[in-house]
């Protein structure tokens, strides 16, 4: 029993990390049908900027806020210089542009920061919480709570505010949205900025567990994207559920099958789910009227 609990906690820890990264994909996809593969770099920027500002003597809370601000600025710059200048291109081209942006950001981080691994202190100390013979780090609970809070806020934002409605409208039909007076440039730009901020917050929260380095974003974005596909792209709830499920699959595979194959097992399960529900667990099936 203690073993099962420990695998469960491990899965929740890793799953919460994936969930927090996966949520960042939601907004941009909702606004523009673009999967932003630079999302991992926003997470990395959040963590690395906080670490380096901390080294420079800035108290960590302020460093974290500054890091989120920096990431938001980078997100805006990404939108203004890479996405908006290609605004007439279709979604696939824009996705490839974000891949290019992620490579650029990684290279810039390598030069601005350094090439080593870094960590941040855990928010509530490193004494593990003991439940039923198993342990979980307080920071894992923080990451989980962060994911849930952001998920609820995002859902409320998209579903309940006028701005959120405008986001949905922009992605449904850009021309029609403009015709009803929505400035789509501001909408999409704001979504990039918000996603960058969410990514940076994720980075600050997960760095005490995962450690960070200039290329930490790549693997995170990949896992986050897998989580998002599982949960249904465009749905905040789907992103979180997908992330947690992916983490649980990996942990139980590592515990009960073999650690060498945990990634294979996790992706196998994702494939099975997608065969049955191609739009993911919470995704909306796209209906095209002909």
């Amino acid at each position: 029993m203690a073993e099962f609990l420990q695998f469960l906690f491990s899965g929740l820890t890793v799953g919460a990390i994936y969930a927090l990264v996966a949520i960042g994909f939601t907004l941009i996809y909702n606004a523009s049908d673009v999967v932003n593969f630079a999302q991992g770099e926003f997470v990395m920027l959040g963590g690395m900027t906080t670490v380096f500002l901390g080294y420079a003597g800035v108290p960590l809370p302020f460093a974290a806020v500054a890091a989120v601000a920096v990431a938001t600025a980078v997100g805006l710059a990404l939108y203004r210089f890479a996405i908006e200048t290609a605004r007439e291109a279709n979604a696939v081209t824009l996705i490839i542009i974000t891949i290019g942006a992620s490579i650029f950001l990684r290279g810039a981080a390598e030069i601005v920061f350094d090439k080593r691994f870094h960590s941040l202190p855990q928010l509530f100390g490193s004494d593990p919480i003991r439940i039923g013979g198993a342990t979980i780090l307080p920071q894992s609970v923080v990451v989980l709570a962060g994911a849930l809070i952001i998920m609820v806020s995002l859902w409320a934002f998209i579903d309940r505010t006028l701005f959120g409605r405008a986001v949905i409208a922009t992605s449904a039909n850009r021309v029609a949205a403009r015709l009803v007076g929505i400035d789509t440039r501001i909408i999409v730009g704001a979504c990039f900025a918000l996603s960058a901020a969410i990514g940076a917050i994720a980075g600050v929260l997960i760095t005490p567990i995962t450690l960070t380095s200039y290329n930490a974003g790549t693997l995170l974005a990949l896992k986050g994207f897998a989580a998002v596909m599982l949960g249904g792209i465009g749905s905040a709830v789907g992103a979180v559920v997908g992330g947690i499920l992916l983490g649980l699959f990996e942990a139980f595979a590592a515990g009960y099958v073999s650690a060498s194959y945990k990634d294979a097992v996790a992706f196998l399960v994702i494939l099975v789910v997608l065969f049955a529900m191609p739009q993911g667990l919470f995704g909306k099936a796209t209906i095209e009227r002909v």
Binding site: T13, S126, A251
Partner: protein, 386 residues
Amino acid sequence: MLGNLKIAAVLGAGLATALAAGPASAQVKIGAVLSASGPASFLGDPEKKTLDIYVEDINAKGGINGQKLQLVVYDDGGDANAARTFATRLVEEDKVVAIVGGTTTGTTMAMIPVFEDAQVPFISLAGAIEIIQPVRKWVFKTPHTDRMACEKIFADLKARKLTTVALISGTDAFGKSMRDQCIDVAPKAGITIATVENYGPGDSDMTPQLTKIKAAAGIQAVVNTGFGQGPAIVTRNYRQLDIPYPLYQSHGVASKQFVDLAGPAANGVRLPAAALLVAEKLPDNDRQKPIAVAYKKTFEAKTGQPVSTFGGHAYDGLMILTEAAKRAGSFDRAKVRDEIERTKDYIGADGIYNMSPTDHLGLDLSAFRMLEIKNGDWTLVPDSGS
């Protein structure tokens, strides 16, 4: 109109760069392919800094055989394919005399065929025993082998009467190689390996694997082979799960960065490492003490970073190469190679080297000391080493 101006500017810049390359210099070129960035950066970065510092130092003292050295360094980022490309470039374009490099086992093994074919002496800075066994004519190495690390750890375990161990390894080339060596060496050392687990080098949580180890019966100690961030996370997870047995790491984490990342969890962790890490704490009659202390002081003064054994490997590699060139009286590749092979009783930062045609490493177990991490610092475990 503007388009033409842009094209002209680009062409002009290209022409200027080509002209600025200048005439080829008459210096002797020494090549290095290091993993200064990427997952092995905390091995490759001190190596690069060490080579820079000491090549400059040698040149300031007049060079070797009356010629100045020019160091050509490429960063492979830990990628074996990139390393191989750079190796080819060093041989064909830069036409180096010899190479000190290959930060990781993976990158070294990728480059060996290039240097063997081109007949260029290659002193590797990586850990696995397969680099020099079987002995290849042009390949040497300075760091202790993973096999020696296993033997040193098992000797310490035996002395503490702990004979049943669990192994947890990274799936990178070094982690896997050392795991295989430990499994091979265990019976002769009187150690039983009861459980073997592994993890990916980029994983962020190893609690499932450690939970299985904790649940396994009869385990008395755990050995973690690997390098990079993996061992730091394993160590943290180890304490999080309250696993009561002693934890041993490999020499792949012999750097302050590991101690910082693992934090208080690293207390009590033992690992085999070069005397360099505890240079000032060595007894005064230790033959390695003067060289180790001198290197440590120079490195820390010039870079502001704590000394690392990986920088020590690079220092030894460079010094063995230049001493061989001095003895050969020339930079002919074959002559330098022969002199490297004749290195005898050379006191380096990492150990005392005695090379031979059948031994291209030249170190024995006395070059490894057993260290224990206490309060964020290295301490020498008594009754170990020469």
